[in-house]
């Protein structure tokens, strides 16, 4: 048989011993920590990627939230502004109306007063005119009936007028 294909027992023993030794040392002190470290790193990388993805989502969520907040704030501001404008208009128109009413009332009062004063003044004037007329009439009458004859004539005339 060709010596190449005849296993040499000494080498078989040495290979077995050397390989077993190599296997146990490497398995315990090399492959275990190496595989553990690789697995650990792969997990941490995956973790980091997931976290980055989550952060991105959180970011876009926050942006959306911010935008909606701004929109809301803007709407609220508009609402407040329009309400304020309305209130201002209300106040102005209220004030106008009040002023109007007050003016009218005062004018009315003034007119009544004026009328009153006028009436009083008129009454006064009437009294004076009456007194004056009486005095004038008295004076005229006195003047007319200074002679006797005229007095008789009037009496007779009046008597004629009386019809019995």
């Amino acid at each position: 048989m060709n010596p190449l294909v005849v296993p040499d027992l000494g080498l078989v023993v040495w290979t077995t011993v050397a390989f077993a030794f190599l296997f146990f040392i490497l398995a315990k002190f090399a492959w275990k920590p190496i595989m553990a470290a690789i697995g650990e790193r792969e997990r941490s990388i995956e973790d980091a990627l997931l976290k980055a993805e989550a952060a991105k989502e959180e970011m876009s969520r926050l942006t959306n939230e911010n935008e909606s907040l701004i929109k809301q704030a803007r709407a609220e501001r508009d609402l407040i502004l329009s309400e304020a404008r309305k209130a201002k208009d209300q106040i102005v128109s209220d004030a106008k109306e009040l002023a109007h009413k007050e003016g009218a009332r005062m004018i009315e009062l003034a007119r009544v007063e004026i009328n009153n004063q006028k009436a009083i003044a008129l009454a006064d004037v009437k009294n004076q005119v009456a007194t004056l007329s009486l005095e004038i009439a008295e004076k005229i009458l006195r003047k007319q009936f200074e002679d006797q004859q005229q007095q008789n004539e009037l009496v007779s005339q009046l008597l004629k007028e009386v019809k019995l």
């Binding site: 010596p3 190449l4 290979t15 050397a18 490497l26 595989m35 650990e40």
Partner: protein, 360 residues
């Protein structure tokens, strides 16, 4: 989705892998045939005729010397477990197989680079002595070096991982992490499924063990160049490990499929058992032969191309040889990774079928 192109490219890659593999199987058969006829070394007198077979066999087989270059070789320790006790001495005592060493219990000689107990000066084998050779040969030295290198590299990488928890990989760590992830995501996960974690240490060890030894085998000078993963003893141990792991972890579906196949008529069961039990052993056997043949074939081809220079006894052939050797070395680099990948992939596949939950 863009999954289809990926799937297609995987299919294409697998196709290339298999075709390259089959190419190598045929090359290997050719290479083995080539060298079988001229086994005895022709030792004529002055200027012995160059025998490429001898040179190649010497380079790809195990040795008690670690050749550095020229006549320079590093002697290696010899450890013999004999029936009378343990003997330890350096291989330099044999003086390249010239001398017989008188040990404590027996006389030893180096015959065809194998240590044999002998009776006397004439190198006749002593059949009464039982000698078990546990020497640190070239392959064992290379094996221990690769184990040392692997421990050095991966323990330091592991400490980097501990130091830099959760950080990006750096240096050697960043060079090896893609390979580790490749073993996990392309070999373990798709073939074994969610239970892959338990088998990761084995798959990673097998992968890097084969890879580093394939690569050391490609280094053409001193500490490298050994044909460790092209040695049947080494691939046998690896294949037996696969065999044991697969069958120890086999669940009831796996064994039921072998012994009580519901879809097979009962009268065929004995034949089925024979086929299935053969299958249990043939799968790891194929692993053993595949790795051995691929790596050995690669070494043989490179050495044959270099031998051409000496066969033709001409420097003019050197550029051609070197060009082919460079091409082959690059191809061998691919094969080194490919074979580590295939061995690990098939181991994962066998484990996957053995622990699969639903059999059809």
């Amino acid at each position: 989705m863009d999954f289809r192109p990926v799937l297609n490219s995987k299919k294409i890659t697998l196709g290339i892998v298999l075709s390259v593999f089959s190419l190598f199987v045929s090359v290997k058969a050719f290479a083995l045939q080539e060298k079988s006829p001229a086994e005895p070394a022709t030792e004529t007198k002055e200027e012995a005729k160059f025998d490429p077979t001898e040179t190649i066999m010497e380079h790809i087989s195990d040795s008690h010397y670690f050749h550095i270059g020229g006549k320079l070789a590093m002697p290696l320790p010899v450890i013999l477990y004999t029936d009378k006790g343990l003997e330890v001495f350096m291989s330099s005592v044999f003086e390249e197989g010239e001398k017989i060493h008188e040990g404590k219990y027996h006389k030893y000689a180096l015959i065809h680079d194998k240590i044999k107990a002998v009776t006397g000066e004439d190198k006749t084998e002593d059949t009464t002595a039982k000698v078990f050779d546990l020497s640190i040969t070239k392959n064992v030295a290379s094996l221990l070096m690769s184990v040392f290198l692997l421990l050095l590299v991966f323990l330091s990488v592991a400490s980097t991982y501990k130091k830099r928890v959760g950080k990006a990989p750096k240096g050697l760590q960043s060079f090896l992490e893609p390979v580790i992830l490749f073993v996990r995501d392309e070999i373990a996960l798709p073939n074994i499924g969610y239970k892959y974690v338990r088998f990761m240490p084995l798959l990673l060890t097998v992968f890097f063990f084969i890879l580093i030894n394939n690569l050391i085998g490609l280094v053409p000078f001193f500490p490298g160049g050994s044909n460790l993963t092209g040695n049947i003893a080494v691939t046998m141990v690896l294949a037996v490990i696969t065999l044991l792991v697969v069958n120890i972890n086999g669940n009831k579906h796996y064994w039921a499929h072998i012994f009580v196949p519901s879809s097979v008529p009962v009268w065929l069961w004995p034949l089925w058992w024979v086929v299935e039990i053969l299958g249990i052993f043939s799968k790891p056997f194929a692993l053993m032969i595949r790795l051995f043949a691929n790596i050995t074939a690669g070494h043989i081809i490179v050495l044959s191309l270099i031998s051409l220079i000496f066969v033709f006894k001409s420097v003019a052939i050197a550029p051609v040889s070197v060009a082919f050797v460079v091409f082959m070395d690059v191809l061998e680099l691919l094969v080194a990774m490919l074979q580590a990948f295939i061995f690990t992939l098939l181991t994962a596949l066998f484990i996957g079928t053995a622990i699969e939950e639903h059999h059809h």
